[in-house]
Symmetry: C2
Subunit: 501 residues, 2 copies
């Protein structure tokens, strides 16, 4: 590596260490921190993120990037070093465009919004949250303007989570997807053979659930020497460097599905980070290509694998051994159907595979309308409910189960929601390619073997970290840009069989 | 508060947050961190401590101190603000005297020394450690010279751990103490009635031990809303601000004493930090007055309370309820004697109250001899063994059980050991004063009531944090400087009864 790039890496290492420390403080906050420490922890987190930001946008960093760019000219454009310089410059140019006065105002606004959102949701009182959201939408419009000119006001927001992706692309794909997915869901509810999942709601010992989950993700390839699992109210994955990628889960005694699918989901995220090439450590490349690509990995392990028939052919006998009383008399086919039961639900995080994207597309359309001014914040609840009925056929009984359910907007995260659906689509698109490259994949999964699959993911996706933008990576691997067809093929095939459509 | 002092506090807050984050990384390293993360964690810790140092010795900090000093002139000299400025300046002037070239060399030397010390101890091979210790002694002499002129070469080292204390003072007290303590120990071994502690070595369920310890320290007043207990191989207390003071313990199934006394010891440290006035938070005053004063608190709760007869009058019946099989037929008096059994041991951390200080005084004398050049490092093992026989009547079978047993010297910590004994002395000195101020203290403890005691400690010691130097604080509270008599009275009284001397 050249000396200038090495010097840039040194500076980036300090930022990475500060970010890792902040991530550990955040992990601790949600796992082991005593309640009385909340105030002090908030200050510590603010200090660390301020310092990380200051170090990243410093003049010294700017000069180091310029020097490294000159050196990178002689390198292959797709080499790790050239891409590191390019990605660093991209992030740097974005960050220095945002004045610190805006950052302060935004931090204050979202901190206050979050408090009142909690209260508003508890009381199903949108009016309490409305002025905060109005302020946030206004601030987010200002934010987008820092990046003018843009094709769409929503582009700069989306770019924070899906580098390089455009609103028009997402819109085109979602528009193609929505009617087909609405149609499928209607068919399930109107013509589907009912699914019984009552046996998932019996009493399941928590320790046994925990151990079963650990057994499954160990077989997936999650490395407990470079990670660990803890309990948290809202499960998440976090990393403090590539050799410390931790997951969390929550367990319910009276519902089997939550803990296991949550564990598989977070392990999917973690396998991505654990698979990033170690030489990308302590740089901006030690991350996934985007939130959508990250979600493609979590959903692949949770849904395409963890809710598949081949997987349960391998694991249902083991699970019956662990819970003979609850599952001894249940047939594997019935268990598989139960794990994939489709239900109309108001709440996104409770949604199944068949309905999930509808929850997202609704939010995406509303966010765009809020940003471009065609929808006023005060009219948001009504717009939510109207669209909800269109997409899912039911109307939320109140705003707590409707427009107030998600934390994202209170934190200013407009542009984040579409990444969940993009993850679903990317997962299915990758999955078809994997099926071509590993013809006996299904039989391997039926034998509980995931080595070839993980090897493929590491080779094609994981190792690159954030070296490529998500659509670029997807295209390199599958030969195509974002495409909704594989996902619809997957959904239709799976649910036609389960619901005998 | 004046504006200049407020501005100084802002800068100090950043240093405090960085230090707190580093402490959390350290806590995690010893509790939950997966083994594969060690390399990355070391870099993160180095980055955070470097940044904390840079922020503390910055020109901006120097100017802020000067400005605050001018403002503090009008304040009462013992006010929190005046003391904050004074302590900050003291620490600042110390830190800026040490050139960063020395810090780098010292970091490298101790990192390498630590590795080889582990190996040397495992193989009982002092020769492997010798060159490292020679280097460390040399570096420590340089360090002392940064603070010339001094009364004694050892003074600047001691000052890092016991601000304001002089080698001559410690030496005078230790010289007075040693012959009396050696005499007591000899009397115990030669004339004492034997103590049977075999019932402490039965099988004690780990969860029940844990819960009993939690019950005891909750009664002491340890606040689990502002702290928590976890397991660690080497127990310690750490804090990330005054509202997050955590302890750790270790448990053995086949020896009852370790976990409980360890928990009480660490809780003693933690009660100190939890009791510091909240307005001292995020400043250099949010710490104990010194390591010795800190140790006075841990040893008071562990020994003067936790190994006392009044305590066991309250708690032995409860403990018998928890372990009826192991202790149902044991008399309280016999249990109390077993918890205070005196034994000749080679290992400091296993030593009982009667012999502990002898282990420390040996190290103190050897450290001084190494520093002033009257003892060469190569002759250290022989000097160790000779003194050990003098003080304790036995000779270590090898250097692993002798001169190589402690981690401290490999980390460069010369000047640290005496604080353990200073803690013992201060604890006894404070205890006599508490006995005068709370005449029925013993009866309160017999009823399991610790509120008045904790209140006294908070009022007289804890709340002040690092506002006063240790001897200054001791003198304010007891009317006397450091004094070995209370400790000898305590030891002689206790062991004369137990061993029927």
């Amino acid at each position: 590596m050249g000396k200038k790039i090495e010097a840039l890496r040194e500076l980036l290492g300090v930022v990475a260490d500060l970010t890792a420390a902040a991530a550990l403080l955040g992990w601790d906050q949600q796992t082991y921190m005593p309640s009385g420490a909340a105030g002090g922890r908030a200050m510590q987190l603010a200090t660390l993120s301020t310092l990380a930001h200051e170090h990243f946008v410093s003049d010294e960093m700017g000069a180091a990037i310029e020097a490294a760019k000159a050196e990178a000219k002689d390198l292959a454009p797709d080499s790790d070093e050239a891409r590191l310089v390019r990605k660093t410059e991209h992030d740097y140019l974005k960050e220095i465009k945002v004045p610190s006065s805006w950052v302060s105002e935004y931090s204050r606004a979202t901190a206050m919004a979050h408090q009142d959102w909690e209260q508003a949701r508890a009381e199903a009182d949108f009016k309490r949250f409305q002025p905060h959201l109005e302020k946030i939408v206004e601030l987010r419009r200002h934010y987008a303007d820092f990046f003018a000119p843009y094709d769409h006001l929503y582009d700069p927001l989306l770019d924070d989570f899906e580098p390089g992706m455009k609103t028009a692309e997402v819109k085109a794909v979602f528009d193609a997807l929505r009617p087909r997915q609405v149609e499928l869901v209607q068919a399930i509810f109107e013509q589907g053979r009912p699914v019984d999942d009552s046996f998932l709601h019996l009493n399941y010992d928590l320790d046994k659930q925990w151990n079963f989950g650990v057994e499954v993700i160990t077989a997936f390839g999650y490395d407990f020497k470079r990670g660990r699992q803890d309990k948290a109210v809202h499960p998440f994955t976090t990393s403090f460097g590539l050799d410390d990628v931790r997951i969390t889960t929550r367990l319910y005694e009276d519902y089997f599905s939550t803990a296991l699918t949550g564990t598989m989901h977070e392990a999917g995220h973690a396998l991505y980070e654990q698979g990033i090439k170690s030489t990308l450590g302590r740089t901006p490349l030690e991350a996934g290509a985007s939130l959508g690509m990250h979600e493609s990995q979590s959903r692949m392990w949770e849904n395409l694998i963890g809710r598949s028939k081949p997987f349960w052919k391998a694991y249902f006998p083991k699970l019956q051994g662990v819970f003979p009383q609850q599952l001894g008399n249940v047939a594997m086919e019935d268990f598989y159907r139960a794990m994939n039961k489709v239900e109309r639900t108001y709440i996104r995080v409770d949604a199944d595979e068949a309905t999930y994207n509808l929850h997202i597309m609704l939010r995406f359309e509303l966010e765009i309308a809020l940003m471009d001014g065609s929808l006023a914040v005060k009219d948001l609840p009504e717009a939510w409910n109207t669209k909800f009925e269109d997409f899912l056929g039911i109307i939320p009984p109140d705003d707590a189960k409707g427009v107030l359910q998600d934390v994202h907007w209170s934190g200013g995260m407009i542009g984040y929601f579409p990444t969940y659906s993009l993850g679903n689509l990317m997962a299915a698109q990758l999955w078809e390619k994997i099926g071509q490259d590993i013809p006996n994949l299904e039989e391997q999964i039926e034998r509980g073997q995931f080595g070839a699959l993980l090897g493929w993911l590491r080779e094609n996706i994981h190792q690159h970290g954030a070296k490529f933008e998500p659509i670029e990576l997807l295209t390199r691997v599958t030969g195509k840009g974002l495409d909704a067809d594989p996902y619809m093929r997957y959904l239709t095939g799976k649910y036609s069989e389960i619901y005998e459509l």
